[in-house]
């Protein structure tokens, strides 16, 4: 395919590609790094919380763990253990806030244990730039920025349309730095194009879904929020608030689940949402995957006092928007392919990070060659700062999470602060350091060393890991093998960057006639 744009169109697309890329790059890079980690959210939650490493209690009813909680709010979530591991849990938003709280229901000792580990959850929330302090504001900002990134992808394809195929696998590491960055940018950009396109598109829609929902309720649904929720499907979780009537005694959860399964036998219950708890019009959503349907999560809503089915939402009876929402959600959260697909997507996310960073470096090399400026120097240092600190701050947070006592109440806040301080400190270090290359190898090397020692630090809380004395739990062992691989890769990258920087310094200090000339 050899399509050539007019000079005018090429120039315009080039400018849009370069500016949208450089404006969105660092935030999107941060989201990509967190996304790569979030791919392993479930194993990470098992690794970080020893309670989830134990087998689940057998032969108990659905209702029994729930009865441990003496006081419950009107609306709460109840989760069953996954893959036969760990205790049941309940969670809810504190009334009139977006603060989410969770408790483990420990049947053995008949007690509620508050959630004491949130490292993986922070990574998950920050991937969408969501935080309870900032609410949806930052998330919407992230959605807009990812849309800008989408623009960079589309214009990137347009300006390279004439030679897209030759650039598929042209990587020339022996050439000058500018050519190497350019080749890396094109190879990772072109080969990872479907991945980046799908994730940018689905990510934008997921981040902006609540906003799009709110602004469409009036003009599209005539203000009928309930009908809007039914249409939106998987993108919107909560129906609008309603009056659930006078207090009343509900049926047990086992009976309600049986009634839901009578109506939809393919449903495999994983969690329950109680609304209007212990009220005459209160409901229970029985939620879980629907057997045999791709990305096929379903909900059966039953009335808690008599088990009357109010709603059955499965892939067979959803709206077109609901179907699109299911695919958007399923594609973005990788509800297919198991561990193998997640490992492949991890590699693609790393390659996406490379595409973003090399884009900035190409911009800097081109601009610097024309006219060095303070803005370019600032961007170079900021790229080094954000690029390296995203990895460093995560390593630091996981390390601190392993070193603090599990039952120490402020530990979740300390984890959060560690992430913020680690990130800000690194960026400040990069902005104050003359040599950006030094920032890269120092910070990546330190992060790598920390990641390599995580399995050792994890012994503080659990013996189920790679070097623990207990019975190895496959998820924990897997996560720790992952840490060893990532740590080694980071240390290897740091050593390689340092060696190249030193050889370049030595070459630059040679008399001009002895210095090898880079091929460009």
């Amino acid at each position: 395919m050899r399509l050539k744009l007019s000079a005018f169109a090429f120039k315009r697309f080039w400018d849009v590609h370069a500016w949208s890329g450089v404006v969105t790059s660092l935030v999107v890079y941060f989201m990509f790094v967190l996304g790569a980690v979030v791919l392993f959210y479930e194993p990470l939650t098992i690794w970080e919380e020893p309670l989830k490493q134990k087998p689940m209690p057998v032969g108990i009813s659905l209702q029994a763990p729930l009865d441990l909680a003496k006081t419950l709010p009107d609306e709460f979530y109840y989760y069953l253990p996954k893959d036969g591991r760990g205790p049941h849990k309940i969670a809810f938003y504190l009334p009139d806030t977006t603060s989410w709280r969770m408790w483990w229901l420990d049947l053995e000792q008949q007690r509620l244990i508050p959630q004491r580990e949130l490292a993986a959850a922070y990574v998950y929330d920050l991937h969408y730039l969501w935080h309870e302090v900032t609410g949806y504001a930052l998330q919407y900002g992230a959605g807009v920025l990812v849309f800008g990134f989408l623009l960079a992808i589309v214009t990137g394809v347009l300006i390279h349309l004439k030679d897209l195929i030759p650039q598929l696998n042209q990587f020339r590491p022996e050439r000058s730095r500018r050519v190497v960055w350019s080749d890396l940018h094109k190879v990772t950009g072109v080969l990872g194009l479907p991945f980046q396109l799908v994730y940018a598109l689905t990510g934008t829609l997921m981040a902006l879904a609540p906003l799009l929902f709110q602004i469409s309720v009036g003009p599209v649904f005539g203000g009928d929020e309930l009908s809007a929720v039914k249409t939106a499907g998987a993108l919107i979780d909560d129906p609008p608030p309603r009056n659930y009537g006078q207090p009343a005694q509900p049926l047990t959860l086992d009976v309600l689940t049986a009634k839901a399964l009578e109506r939809e036998p393919r449903l495999m219950p994983e969690s329950f949402v109680f609304r209007g708890f212990r009220r005459e019009l209160g409901t229970v959503d029985v939620r879980g995957p629907v057997a045999g349907v791709p990305f096929g999560d379903g909900v059966v809503r039953v009335r808690a006092v008599d088990g009357v089915v109010e709603l059955v939402q499965t892939p067979d009876n959803e709206s077109a928007v609901g179907k699109a929402a299911r695919w958007i959600h399923g594609l973005h959260t990788v509800e297919y392919g198991g561990l193998a697909a997640r490992l492949l997507l991890f590699c693609l996310a790393v390659s996406g990070c490379l595409a973003i960073l090399t884009g900035n470096w190409v911009w800097l090399e081109r601009r610097h060659a024309r006219a060095p400026s303070r803005e370019n120097l600032f961007l170079a240092r900021l790229t080094a700062g954000v690029g390296s600190s995203a990895v460093f701050s995560l390593a630091m947070m996981f390390m601190v999470s392993r070193l603090m006592p599990l039952d120490w109440a402020p530990r979740t806040r300390v984890e959060e602060l560690t992430l913020v301080i680690g990130f800000a400190g690194c960026v400040a270090f990069a902005l104050l350091t003359r040599d950006s290359t030094r920032v890269w190898w120092t910070v990546l090397g330190t992060a790598g060393a920390m990641v390599l020692t995580l399995p050792l630090a994890a012994l503080h809380h659990s013996q189920a890991g790679l070097i623990g004395s207990g019975h190895g739990e496959p998820h924990v062992v897997g996560v720790e093998i992952g840490f060893l691989c990532i740590g080694s890769a980071l240390v290897g990258a740091a050593l390689s960057i340092r060696a190249r920087a030193r050889s370049r310094t030595a070459r630059d200090s040679m008399p001009a006639d002895l210095s090898p000339r880079p091929v460009s």
Partner: protein, 112 residues
């Protein structure tokens, strides 16, 4: 077993497509230099690609198999494009080693 077999098949597919591609008028892997060999290699690569997708389809749905194959090909192709110029012998060796590995994994998949 299914995962390993599909991954190795995708790696092999990417290797053959990469190796038969031309750079400066020459095939990237010299073994595919006469064009008839390149054609045969591409045919084998296509068969391996279909086999990888079919293998995944046996455990998951059609869309999941298509997605897995696409994601796998993107990853393996990136791997080859970036690593072969740096470690050419290792990548060629890995490609050759794929053949017995695929046969052993396929046999284990059949008997298990």
């Amino acid at each position: 077993m299914t995962e390993s077999l599909s991954l190795v098949l995708l790696f092999f597919t990417a290797a053959l497509f990469y190796g038969t591609d031309t750079s400066g008028g020459r095939r990237r892997f010299a073994a595919f230099e006469p064009s008839y060999r390149a054609s045969v290699a591409r045919l084998i690569a296509t068969i391996a690609l279909v086999a990888a997708a079919r293998n995944w389809y046996s455990v998951e749905s059609g869309p999941a198999a298509a997605l897995f194959t696409t994601v796998g090909m993107m990853t393996m192709a990136t791997l080859f494009a970036l690593l072969t110029p740096l470690f050419p012998r290792f990548m060629r060796g890995a490609t050759v080693a794929c053949v017995p590995v695929i046969l052993v994994l396929a046999w284990l998949r059949v008997v298990s």
